[in-house]
Amino acid sequence: MTELALTLRERPRLSAVARRLVWVLVGFAVYCALILLYGKNPLAALHDTFTNTLGSTYGFEQVVIKMIPLVLTAMAVAVPARIGLVNVGGEGQLFLGGLCATGAAITFTSLPAWVLLPLMSLFAIIGGGALAAVAGWLRARGWLSEVFSTVLFNYIAILAVSVLVFGPWRDPTSSNYPQTRLFVPAAQIPHIGSSQVDITVFVAIAVVIAFDLVLRRTRWGLEMRAIGANPQAAARNGVPVRRYIVACMFVGGALAGLAGMDQVAGLQLRLNTGISSGFGYLGFLISWLSGHNPRLIVPMSFLLALLAAGGDVLQITQSLPYALVNVMSAVLLIIVLFGRSAGVRSVS
């Protein structure tokens, strides 16, 4: 009987790649329609976007700079998603990672860079990871769904940053602007050659490759895939499901935390409340667009980074609001999640 039910479910459908291409095209169409609604010419806007991003070295570097946090926050969603968890807390984990890295940077100012930067990374990993792991622990105990806890933790983490930059960590010399002092040079992430891109880009690449290998080659990957497909059966085969829930959330949060560290120590060189332009949420979109597949996360991050960098450009060249990018990504997310979260596909 089961055999029959399963066979019946196998309906012919668009291949995964074709489906994603359709999503991306729909996203672009929505974006163009929004620009049109705003009374501007979408073709001119797209022209400006491409010439000012892919058309110049400076523009291309801007895209790569945006890709770094996007890849990391997308991985922060993808790792827990592989065992069926929904981490909506990338934004908060990014903020807490940035906060903890800053804590190290402004405390141990006399350390040399080769000690201080790894130390800051460790703080960022623990900060972002712990926030997510608490959500995982609540879920593993069966007390609270990680969907709710991660969303709510976002407010806590972002407001915690506000408290610190408005209060104890505020730079007294920066008139009224709530931010910390500029980091000492040892706490600044080095750039590649003379470019604006910092070396966190290598970390992001390594994370993607490592996750792909873990999933395909290792015992942990097999166990994660088993939990993702049928947690009950996995548990009965001896897979420690609860431990995986906490561990995968920790790893996800740690990666978002590293994205936060990149923002404070590679870009802003200080902590303020503007360290993320919604990277946590864009990362969520990218992960779902990519089916939580690390190999697809890189090109999808590139596309979204292109649009985000383009959004900055269009504010100047076409006086279009950056919010259009956010509206477009929200619409795209709804399309991607369509039919998935309505319980239609739940295991029978």
Binding site: M1, T2, E3, L4, L6, T7, L8, E10, R217, T218, R219, W220, L222, E223, R225, A226, A229, N230, Q232, A233, A234, A235, R236, N237, G238, V239, P240
Partner: protein, 515 residues
Amino acid sequence: MTTALPGPPDARTDEIPLAARGIVKRFGRVLALDRADFELRPGVHVLLGENGAGKSTLVKILYGRVNADEGEIFLRGAPVEIRTPADARRLGIGLVFQDFSLIPALTVAENVALFLPELSRLLRRTQIEGRISELCQHLGIDVDPTVRVGTLSVPEQQRVEIIRVLLGGARILIFDEPTSALPPHETDAFFEIFRRLRDDGYPIVFITHKLREVFALGDHVTVMRRGTVIDTLPIELATEQRLVELMFGQAELATRTSEVGVRSGGAPVLELAGVTTTGPGRRLVDIDLSVSAGELVGVAGVSGNGQRELGDVILGAARLARGKRVLFGRDASRWTVRQIREGGVGFIGENALGMELIWSMTLEENLALGSLSRFSRAGGMSIDWPAVQEHFEQAFSELGLKPPDRNARASTLSGGNLQRFVIARELARRPKLIVALDPARGLDVRSANIVRRLLAKARNEGAGVLLISQDLAELSELCDRIVVLHEGGIVADVAPDETDAYQLGRFMSGAESSA
């Protein structure tokens, strides 16, 4: 005759109530039905065949749950189109499912109301309850229409299911393995209802793979094999030998092998002392149970009296609220599933695909998943797939079974093949204790006998076996000792040759207790 019944068809005896001709159905590459012809005869018409013969697919097509690729359906001689269950019900065809489709949170009357074709917007509860009572009286059964279905036992739920189908206007009844969910002493009561419906003139299709039921109830029997209808016989012409030949073709009859066991004497491999659980499902109460090496202990009981929970407690999937779990002489009360499995426990669950295997993974991956500590290398950095493959072939060849394609996804295997895979996987781990829940349930005669032989063999080679089963014949044939579970507690501990089905039935229903 009252108005409660929509009234059975006043069929002229020469008319065929329902017929299917040349039905073809493919599921992907699998040909489930190959030009099947079926003519329903008046009375009880048994559809007999081993697992995967196409019985269920055929009736699902008659009920509109599955649509045929080719072929025609005739209702009283006229061609009809049945695309959905709603079509079938409109035409008066009712199907009583194997797994009931009742809603536990609603009352009996509400469940029936949902199924009525002429349900008015305003529910007239008393009217519906009245019709249910009237029908119950007619069938000689006792069901309270005001209670919630979730509080009813399995046999009671089955009666509700029948009432629902009858009040829903069915004139032709199809029963898909109705007795598979019933404890042995309940089947007689069920047969009584069945006979009354037949006497009322309902044509009945009755699917089964149990020969005993064919002779107890059938007027006609149609045998299916590998998607085609082999033959239809009136019951007077059917003999057991003949039916088995038709079911299996070249009369490859299974031999019941039951070598006498070593009979305990070994050290205990499992000891439960005062085990009590909380948690969802049936709570276990103060269970004392021990299984020794070389001993096969059976657990009898009516489904839902704690069988699943007992298995889960031994596997470590359920926690102990009180009591002790001792495995192989060591206190394992707080061991995890992984520790218990690696300690030497093999587990054959009641629902392989849903509970024990990952259906989207290949058989090879599922095999590795069950013994990961054995196959992972460099602390988990990699998995030794060549070793897994070797182990895979060995697991099957040791049992004298043909290994399936190790790269096939678990979801593509039939129920019998999956069960065999689970058993091969678990036995190949050389467990010192095997826990098996209804391992032969739903399997055809041949596969069931293979499974039983394998369990007996493991016992003879020194493993302790705990066989939790609904099948009293299986238990009394294989076991050295039988305990009976009732409402989460053990009410009897007997030797099979000192008891009989009648006494076990009384233990199982709680009418008697020896422990």
